[in-house]
Amino acid sequence: MKTMANQTLTLKKNFPPFVKAASFAIAACVLAIAQSTPQIQLPEVHLDAYGLSPRPIEQLTGTAIAHGYALAWRDQVRALESNEAGGLGEELVGFAKDRLVQRIGEQKRAGVYARIVDHGHHLKAVFYATDGTAMQLLDQAQLEIQIYDGSKLLDTENAAHEYMVLMTPGADRWYVRDLEEVSAKSF
């Protein structure tokens, strides 16, 4: 686990005063919330917007996307372990939220829960609509997933996972609207 100082340094290194996100990879180690409430850890999210079309993105947009995505994953990981959908923030909406809420309900019914150790995400932006209404991203996440029935460990897996993500902008943040795990077989 990186220290706060190291992570902040990474953040500074990766954000020169003004960088066009379209031509450089943005790395966002999102720590703002972690600083104010130490017990809450956001996963590390790196966003690469190189070659994004048909519209490039600016640095602030990239930062907002990485931040929103990190919040969504933090909430998702918590909810899947606690089996409580009530603590979900506003970052997950639409299909992504519906499916997660459904999964939590099913877990609760079966007495099952999932513990996820989130080792970080590498987001690659693949499509950004010219009117700015939607962005599609491919996430390569390193996750350690354990599935429990009560106190019994049923299964454990530490592997790379790929997600197809659809994010849309709101008034002051980006929302995760669709989050589907994919593999080479999906295409």
């Binding site: 048909p54 299909f95 519906d98 499916r99 997660l100 459904q102 999964r103 099913e106 877990q107 019914r109 079966a110 007495g111 099952v112 999932a114 693949v126 499509f127 609509a129 010219t130 009117d131 209404t133 939607a134 599609q136 491919l138 599935i147 029935d149 019994k152 049923l154 299964d155 897996e157 197809m164 659809l166 669709d178 589907e180 795990e181 994919v182 593999s183 077989k185 999906s186 295409f187």
Partner: protein
């Protein structure tokens, strides 16, 4: 078909040690074997076979589903269509007393059934290149993004003139196109079509900037009445009522401007003038003619 077995006795690992554990015959550790298809289509029921005998607890864990039930080994386990509606990997776990084994299968999106179609902007000036943009997201009936490449046909139907279409292949479930607006004002319908799925949107083409803006002046004593010719763009479309035309007068009293909205294609204004005067007209960024009064200019 995919088969996975796994030995997972914690006590075994602790007491005998990893090396010895792995040398144990498979039959000691794993009595049951799971056979699952590698890929299934969303919403299709199918069977998983679990070899062995006796009872076990079966779990299916997917993006929006968790199933737990007691099963008899040696028989097929039926997976309901409602349990595999959402695309993505699904984990199958089979537990006998203290040991569990697991494997995964992939649920792939079904055939396209919905198009989520965005057309931008809602109003566009005529004859403007690359001004109309459409984005279509392809979903199946369960709203899984269909990642298998497909071709979306964007059919553009203007209010007047011939329609045309653009065929765009999807990439990661998204098709995107950009076309210019046509020369005539009015509604333009753009329909995204994929197989028997259609989604239509309508935008409005409006007149572009004014073209060859002209006015005439009629004097009556110290008053001058100004009236433009019908204000049209370069394609002959009338600018909509409410578009502002600015008349500017310069005379002895100084400079004075009146902004008048177009009404029934023309804009009218009246000035009082003090001696020689020159009056100009403009609409947006377009300047029209200039008139000189009292023959002094």
């Amino acid at each position: 078909m995919k088969t996975t077995t796994r030995c997972d006795f914690a006590w075994c690992k602790r007491v005998i040690g990893l090396v010895l554990f792995c040398m144990l015959p498979a039959s000691v550790c794993a009595a049951a074997e799971l056979h699952v298809p590698a890929i299934v289509e969303a919403g299709q029921s199918f069977a998983i076979s679990a070899s062995g005998s006796g009872q076990a607890t079966f779990y299916l864990v997917g993006p929006d589903v968790v199933v737990k039930r007691n099963v008899n080994l040696g028989s097929d386990l039926r997976i309901q269509s409602s349990d595999v509606r959402i695309a993505g990997p699904h984990r199958v776990i089979l537990c006998e007393s203290s040991s569990c084994e697991s494997t995964t299968f992939e649920v792939k999106a079904a055939q396209p059934a919905h198009l989520s179609f965005f057309l931008h902007p809602s109003r566009v000036p005529v004859s403007f290149p690359d001004s109309i943009e459409g984005t279509a997201f392809v979903f199946d009936q369960y709203f899984n993004l269909v990642l298998t490449p497909a071709v979306v046909d964007f059919r553009i139907t203007p209010a007047s003139g011939a329609g045309f279409s653009r065929q765009v292949p999807t990439r990661n479930g998204v098709a995107w196109m950009r076309v210019g607006s046509t020369p005539r004002e009015g509604k333009v319908q753009v329909t995204a079509v994929l197989g028997n799925v259609e989604e239509a949107r309508v935008i409005q083409q409006v007149a572009a900037e004014a073209c060859e803006l002209r006015m005439k002046a009629v004097t009556s004593g110290k008053m001058v009445t100004l009236e433009t010719d019908p204000v049209r763009d370069c394609s002959g479309n009338a600018l909509p009522d409410g578009t502002v035309v600015s008349f500017t007068k310069i005379d002895k009293a100084g400079k004075s401007t009146i902004d008048i909205p177009i009404k029934k294609d023309v804009a009218r204004a009246q000035f009082s003038i003090d001696g020689p005067a020159r009056i100009s007209v403009a609409c947006g960024v377009i300047s029209g003619n200039e008139v000189a009064l009292n023959g002094k200019l």
